[in-house]
Symmetry: C2
Subunit: 233 residues, 2 copies
């Protein structure tokens, strides 16, 4: 007795690709690369496994597309944050740092997704180049923001070191905050990040908290939201 053929709707290529990429990312984020089988991806995207081959040729290619989408999204957040604040250089830098230290950037799924693709990236030259490019673009943007600060002139070499160090602080806090969300109070990551970056650069970024929701409203009665998770005792 042949199974009844399941009904379906034809949809645009863009829509199908997006759904498949999203499903892949969610699965990798939650359960690692092993959980992202073609069947699981297809089910979550509401289609059958054949479509993966149809739109991406192979599972590997789908994974590549998913990784590209991830990287683009991460850098976009920082860009948007800077674009939203137009005032002083310090404010712009503060907004940039803060945006990388709260959701959706700081998120267990994001770290899981990033870690899940780490090996794929290392063994795939195309993805490795993509990674390096994204990393340097992020760091260069950071360096530009640092250079714009009103400070006694800095040699280029020093700017480079400062950018590397500040980038490291952000990466490290991103990692720890995402992996142990219970370990930090809401807004604590942002506060620590601003203080540390400021200390490295000899500037005071903690003044510019008016744009940082977590710090302007220490309204503990309403501290709900994705950050809530238990107090750091």
């Amino acid at each position: 007795m042949p199974h009844e053929r399941r009904p379906y709707r034809r949809e645009s290529e863009a829509s199908r690709r997006e759904a498949l990429i999203l499903a892949t990312q969610e699965l990798v984020a939650a359960g690692g690369p092993a959980a992202a089988t073609v069947r699981a991806i297809a089910e979550r995207a509401g289609v059958t496994p054949g479509l993966i081959r149809h739109y991406f040729g192979s599972k590997d290619e789908l994974n590549r597309a998913a990784y590209r989408t991830l990287m683009d999204g991460m850098t976009d957040v920082g860009m948007d944050a800077v674009a939203g604040v137009g005032a002083s250089a310090e404010e712009r830098l503060a907004a940039f740092v803060a945006s990388s230290l709260r959701p959706p950037v700081v998120d267990a799924g994001a770290v899981g997704l990033w870690a899940g693709y780490l090996h794929t990236v290392r063994s795939d030259p195309a993805l490795l180049a993509l990674h390096e490019e994204a990393y340097l673009r992020y760091r260069d943007l950071l360096q530009e923001l640092i250079a714009a600060l009103e400070r006694p002139d800095c040699p280029e070499a020093r700017l480079r070191q400062e950018a590397i160090a500040c980038n490291a602080v952000i990466d490290g806090l991103w990692l720890e905050g995402s992996m142990l969300p219970r370990g930090f109070a809401p807004g604590e990551l942002v506060r620590i990040g601003l203080a540390a970056v400021g200390a490295i650069l000899g500037a005071d970024l903690t003044r510019h908290t008016m744009f940082i929701p977590e710090l302007t409203q220490p309204d503990l009665t309403k501290a709900t939201g994705p950050d809530r998770q238990g107090a750091p005792q």
Copy 2:
């Protein structure tokens, strides 16, 4: 025609467990969790797959053991570095920071291994507890070293924030240095790390470079190697 039975030697349980754990780590580090199949592990360890079951019961248990071994090794490096230097608090802190920013801690394989186990850790309560414990132990040790500095008295809350920030710098530099080794000159990570941690704490750690091999010999004749800040070209 039955295959000839392969000759073998009996060895101690400790030796076999060690070999299997090492093989597992190497495979995960190089090719991710997917590469660490029971057959591949056994082959690399010079045994047959059955031994995995014999000594560890299941592959999952072997992975747990491998992760425990990894974490223990990572923290041991920092402990040893501090133990080796007995002088001032600044020197001890500098030695601790520097030890985490050069091989074997800074190593592509180490990051690969760590990332490969990230999902396993998150989904396994026992491993998650182990991870949290190791992380906090490391950070607490760092905080102790910070508290020992000769500075105007610091409130406990500030010490905590400083420890978190310094830990983040170390983590971030470890990550970036391991993933893009071409992007940094030898010793550059250590130098940047010491400068950044010093800036955060208001101390000058860069004075204590006598114990840092990479910095005592600024051999510039070799600085044009593949480390010339990975200028993508």
